[in-house]
């Protein structure tokens, strides 16, 4: 009875008849070994394609702006870049950016937590789910922007209102994706847990929640984008600082390039946050992806 004999009878490790997705994994028993198309060359290729797309977009923008020929209405990328550099060189503007990013981080963290907690409640109780699911779908159909004015009446102009808006934007994608993920937990997994005497809570904690992790993270990733979207609107109406306010204020001086610079900044920050979120969570929660690649 040698441990090696498991591989002696045509049972090649990795040659799963069930056809598990990742072809790089069938190369051998060690999952880190890669074929000739290594992860590095893939990502170099991807970065190349990304840059190409960015350059193409800038060229199109530039041609369009030249055709319009009115920088007050539609500035060229060069004007906008100049305004962006000025913005970044100015300490006050930089702190506006940090204020906005902090609002995103806090609202996103609170909203995600609330979303996961709510979904756990809905997913664990048939009664709660039946009662509250229509409410969730009702509320999620309302754009967070619609709540900005009522929020200022309830919480006043300032951070509390803006936090409310970002939480509102964050919570629903997390709830829905978490619920989907929990519903996807294979029945044989929960049955297996029950065989060993696991109760509802134990099954939930050890089987249902871990099965849902990739779904939760997808929901959070969507929500991160929604946080960026909603915080700008909130700052425009209910704020007196932040990038949203800066964009809004530029209107007073007809400073269209700064407006564009603010918009570019939001987009760039959103992209950066998304990449960091994916990289960090894919690493931390790698084993919950069960061999699938998160990207």
């Amino acid at each position: 009875m040698t441990p090696a004999s498991a591989t002696d009878f045509g049972e090649r490790p990795g040659a799963a008849p069930t056809g598990d997705a990742d072809p790089t994994r069938t190369a051998g028993p060690r999952p880190r070994r890669r074929g000739p198309r290594s992860a590095a060359s893939w990502s170099r290729r991807r970065i190349g394609l990304n840059l190409l797309a960015v350059v193409a977009a800038i060229v199109v923008w530039h041609v369009a702006a030249l055709a319009k020929d009115n920088p007050l209405v539609f500035p060229t990328p060069i004007d906008s870049a100049r305004a962006l550099v000025e913005l970044l060189q100015d300490a006050d503007s930089r702190s506006e950016l940090l204020i906005t990013l902090w609002r995103v981080v806090v609202g996103f963290a609170l909203g995600s937590t609330l979303g996961i907690a709510t979904a756990s409640l809905l997913g664990s109780s048939r009664v709660a789910a039946d009662a509250l699911e229509p409410v969730v779908h009702f509320l999620r159909s309302i754009t967070p922007v619609a709540w900005i004015v009522p929020a200022t009446i309830w919480f006043g102009v300032g951070d509390a209102s803006m936090r409310f808006i970002v939480i509102y934007a964050t919570v629903f994608p997390v709830i829905l994706n978490t619920l989907t993920g929990m519903a996807q937990a294979a029945r044989n997994k929960t049955r297996m847990a029950r065989v060993f005497g696991a109760g509802r809570f134990r099954t939930y904690r050890s089987v249902v929640i871990p099965s849902a992790v990739p779904y939760v993270l997808t929901g959070m990733r969507l929500s991160l984008g929604y946080s960026f979207m909603s915080v700008i609107g909130a700052e425009m109406v209910a704020g007196s600082d932040g990038i949203g306010y800066l964009i809004y204020e530029s209107r007073l001086f007809y400073d269209t390039p700064t407006m564009f610079a603010g918009i570019l900044l939001v987009g760039a920050a959103g992209l950066a946050f998304d990449r960091v979120f994916v990289l960090v969570t894919a690493r931390i929660f790698r084993r919950f992806y069960c061999g699938q690649v998160a990207r």
């Binding site: 490790p13 008849p17 069960c290």
Partner: protein
């Protein structure tokens, strides 16, 4: 309640009653067509019982009921004298396919799972997991994750997970159905060895005649569904360890083949009656 069903040549209530299935019928809803009709069966402690039948005949339904996942619409079922009211650690289940494995735990963690739930502490837990992994010859693969394993190795993990808690009853639902032929025969032989080395009562579901012959002490043959019945129960005369091929094997195979065909035909004969139930 013990009327012998007309379609059952051999009433098959000849186990010692360690697991009893008495006149069970099953339908998904009241008035819906019955998947199972009046199935009775008695398993002896320590025997390897194989339920053989075509797909869709309700074999898995019977196993799910013994496991306590589903309940018969009519009839009753006992394990060690007690009625089945739900799943329990006395009846370990080896599932069809591999989706019962927890993909976020390595092999060790998967095998350990049941012991953790049952509250077994280290170092006993560790020792038992090691022993179970050795038993299925996965001692060197403890740190691998399910997605890094072949189909055969995944089923070994399931077997280890079922053995580690010392459940007296193993319920196996076509555990080798998705494997290639070579891996399948290897695992059949190993399961036969493991069963001989340990003192387990096994209910094993399959539609593969030679698998039934290699493994079973007794083989129960089901008719096709719906309204599937137990058609016959055959004692397996082959001495262990069993080998494929040889005249005895061939003769029994033919006999079983005929019985399976007759069981299916019985289904066809009954079609007229089913509508007038």
């Amino acid at each position: 309640m013990t009327t012998t069903d007309a379609t059952t040549r051999n009433p098959a209530v000849n186990g010692d009653g360690y697991v009893t299935i008495e006149d069970i019928s099953f339908a998904y809803a009241a008035g819906a067509p019955r998947i199972l009709a009046d199935v009775s069966l008695s398993l002896s402690r320590g025997e390897f019982f194989v339920l053989l039948g075509p797909s869709g005949c309700g074999k898995t339904t019977i196993l799910n009921q013994v496991a306590g996942f589903e309940f018969p619409t009519e009839g009753r079922m006992t394990v060690a004298g007690r009625p089945v009211t739900g799943p329990g650690p006395d009846r370990a289940v080896i599932f069809q396919g591999d989706d019962s494995l927890l993909g976020w735990l390595d092999v060790y963690g998967n095998v350990e799972f049941g012991l953790r739930v049952l509250g077994v502490k280290n170092p006993e837990r560790q020792q038992r997991v090691r022993a179970a992994l050795e038993m299925v010859e996965l001692g060197g693969q403890a740190k691998k994750y399910p997605h890094e394993l072949s189909g055969g190795m995944k089923q070994r993990v399931q077997i280890a997970r079922a053995l580690v808690t010392d459940a007296p009853i193993l319920l196996m639902d076509e555990p080798f159905g998705a494997l290639d032929a070579q891996t399948r025969t290897t695992l059949q032989d190993e399961l036969a060895r493991i069963w001989a080395d340990t003192d387990r009562t096994v209910l094993f579901i399959t539609h593969d005649i030679s698998e039934a012959m290699i493994l079973g002490d007794r083989i129960g043959i089901m008719t096709s569904g719906p309204e599937a019945k137990l058609y016959d129960v055959i004692e397996n005369p082959l001495p262990r360890p069993r080998e494929r091929g040889g005249p005895d094997f061939g003769a029994l195979y033919q006999d079983l083949e005929r019985t399976v065909t007759a069981a299916k035909a019985r289904r066809a004969d009954l079609d007229g009656e089913v509508g007038t139930r």
